[in-house]
Amino acid sequence: MIPSRLRAVFQREQLDRELSAEVQSHLEMLTEENLRKGMNPEEARMMAKKEFGGVEQTKETYRDQRGLPFLEMLLQDLRYGLRGLLKKPSFTLVAVLTLAMGIGVTSAVFSAVDRILFRSLPYPDQERLVSFGFKAPIESAEFMLGTDYLIWRAQQTPFESMTTLTPGGPTGAGDCDLTDHNPTRLNCAYVESNFLPTFRIKPILGHNFSREEDRPNAPRVVMLSYGLWRSRFGGDPGITGKCISLDGQRAAIIGVLPADFEMPNLAPADIVLPQALDESRQQHPNAGRPLRAFARLKPGVSPAQATAALQPLFQESLNFIPRQFRKEVSLVVRSLRDRQVQDARLASWILLGAVLAVLMVACTNVANLLLARATSRRREWAVRAALGASRWRLIRQTLTESLLLGLLGGVTGFGVAYFMLRLFVSIAPEGILRLHQARLDFRVLLFTLGVSLTSGMLFGVAAALRKPSPELLSGRDVQMTARSILRQTLVVAQIAVSLVLLAGAGLLLRSLWNLENTPIGMHADNVLIAKIVLGDSRGLKPEQQLAFFQELEKRLRRLPGVTALALSDTLPPAGVMRSTIYALMEVAGRPRMAEGTGGMVGWRSVTPEYFSALGIAIVRGRGFREEDLQPNQNPVILSDALARQLFVDQDPVGKTMRFGNSGPWRTVVGVAGNVKNNGLAVPAEPEFYIPWKHNPQTSFRAATVCLRSPLNPRVLAGWVRSEAAGLDPTLPVEMETMTQRVGKLAQRPKFNAVLLSLFAGMGMLLAGIGIYGVVAFLVAQRAKEIGVRMALGASPLSILKMVLSHVARWTLLGALLGLLGTFYVTRLLNSLLFQVGIHDPRLLGAAVALLLAVAFVAAWIPARRAMRVDPVVALRYE
């Protein structure tokens, strides 16, 4: 019966026609009968109608029986609501655009942070995956040593399975070369044989490698990533069994990984290889290979329980660590998600919070618009109530209208979200977690829909809860003070939220400015950087590598316009740097450090012109000279921080020191100024420099060339490339200017600051529009009162003052609430700020001043209109 009723709802017109025809024919037959009985035509028709009963009532009852009254009323409400919205296009347009802005921006941000905060990782049962190991100041993430790993694997209890990968592979850089006819450098990942099973990843072609294939000197096998399989091998379905040449050796392809595969440490991986851990060698203490370890917890075991369960094994392992370091090592077991998300989590929540604040301001604006519209329709509602419409019916209609508005806003907002997302992705710096995966997909659509319907409900309810009073029927203007209080409260809330957003954006902007202007210890302009990696595939010995770079240096010196040229194994201000443990450094005539590691100390191998090429000051002694490159000379230059740490007040020049047990004793010949080498926000790590020449502690696998030159960097880069190609045409050369390199460090804070400023700007704009709306409404409502005042002698200026005093009241109240909110909220920003106090009074004062300015500009136009009210016209309007 229900399906036929449903059908009837949509065939309404046709069925109505049929019913009318049937009723008409019945009436005519009755009339004929009456005619036959002898009545005249008039009487016959009247009697027929009487006998039939009420035609309209019959049709009503019939229709109720026929269709689904609830659905029909809903459709009627929707039609009516849509008509109403179309009749007032300016209102509808403003409301829909406001909503679209709020909802669009929210959806865009949600799609970006969804992947970070909410969506699960692409592994089955991913909640049970953890990363575990030792946490020590020498490494940024937890790690395991081969020795301990083997022991733990044999004796552990909390894990269903454990697996490891070798970070960076045997070379430490994680790259490998495809050395067949079209050589390319790829990213390789080195994993244990049970890696794929632990993560429950199934290859789409072929199979995983076995334990036998995971031994050193086993025949080489590889698995391809989906992307590499498609791009380089054309998606060949028969690829398994074919061979490739990797780093000069043949390797067989045994499988292809699925398209959504990613490494748990998010390292890029084109090829996955067995890590070939030599288990016999791992037995020697202090010879264990550093590994990253992951595991799948047994069902019902939490990371905390696992940590407790592993404590005995951990304590055993500690015995093999030198006593002075033991205090700094701890055991860590944490969920894989935590490991991936850690830094991004705070920024994501802040962005989401900011964008929800913008949405709130937008919804408040629309609520105010609806309230204003409701006021102008109250007479209509009073009439409808008098005609018998129940209050529930009126509320339902208002709700339907606002839901409709919400949906329209949501649909438009989805389009806005698309463009917003593209904008975000285009201005975003590299390395934002998973941003490339952000898409407007089904989840986001559902979220958008939910948000639009909820906002529709919220402001609809606000507008609907007014009882139409019968006095309105007379058309007299009743003071709706309650409604205007609600509107004013909403405006105050808008202002408060806008202030919080403004303050947050201001803090981030100030912090960014500090970051970009912090002295880095070198002159970064006019320096071109070229990074050249020789790699291992060419099978060059260290002497040959050194000879290559010396030849390159000679060639580059011939280029015109080069003021200084230097080579180094690594470069500041951030990135990889060789480092050693402070406690391992020995100074002649002093005992070694007793307790603890003392932190890490970085070091670089540089040519003599390094300091002048980068503009690093030499504060004591001298820089390196050509003579220092002789084999028997062992000078060292300390950074200022290291010199102070090692020698406190003594003059370091002339002292002897060495690092590591095998190195030669080195004489300190100078002290260089501190250079930021660990990012911009953190003080520089102590470091030292040794000359660029052959010694057992370095290899020359890769080198960075720095050229100081006033010439156009692009031109210069072209020349450098051709010189390098002259030596080896297949060698990839990465180039950038030092300014770009330093700029990259500020990219993330810049992105955060730009986004938050964008949201604050939106919030302020919407709040300004809100204030405008409410003041205009106020002036229109109180036009009569203003007319009376002016007729009684008030000057236009005093009217203006009256209006503006209202605005001032709201703004100050809103600012007060906003300041309170700021105190709580900006605490969250603390970790994102650099050298900015969260309660910086100048900043907060500036934000409040800006808000006041916006409020007054927004109120100006309607206030002027109040000034121009003609008392005659106003009073006549009765």
């Binding site: 036929s4 009723r5 025809a21 049937e22 019945h26 009755l30 009963g53 019959t58 029986q65 026929r66």
Partner: protein, 114 residues
């Protein structure tokens, strides 16, 4: 004294329509109304319009079916026919009516006697 226009209960109207269609075969709305009035010897005067929602209800329950046709006076009219399910319903409802009537008669008779 003739009873005034009585309110006819919904269920009884359904039964009357089914019986009419059973006896007279396919009819249009006007015809059914006239027949009911005729049989009740004008003791029952219903608002003929109330017939139509009832006919719709019976059609929704699939006890009758409808088809547009032409009446005796060459007028377009919708004809209603009893279906097999309708006939079964008629039989069962007629039975329950008779049972009810018997019980009522015994009750009232008993009441009168005592």
């Amino acid at each position: 004294m003739a009873p005034s226009k009585a309110e006819v209960l919904q269920g009884t109207l359904d039964l009357m329509v089914l019986k009419t269609l059973d006896t007279m075969g396919p009819m249009h709305g006007y015809g059914i109304a006239q027949r009911i009035q005729q049989i009740s010897e004008d003791l029952l005067r219903l608002n003929q319009g109330t017939l139509y929602p009832a006919l719709l209800r019976l059609e929704q329950k699939r006890w009758i079916s409808s088809k547009w046709g032409v009446s005796e006076n060459h007028r377009k009219a919708k004809y209603y026919t009893l279906t097999a399910a309708g006939r079964r319903q008629l039989v069962s409802e007629a039975e329950s009516w008779e049972r009810m009537a018997a019980v009522m008669a015994r009750l009232l008779d008993g009441a009168q006697r005592s």
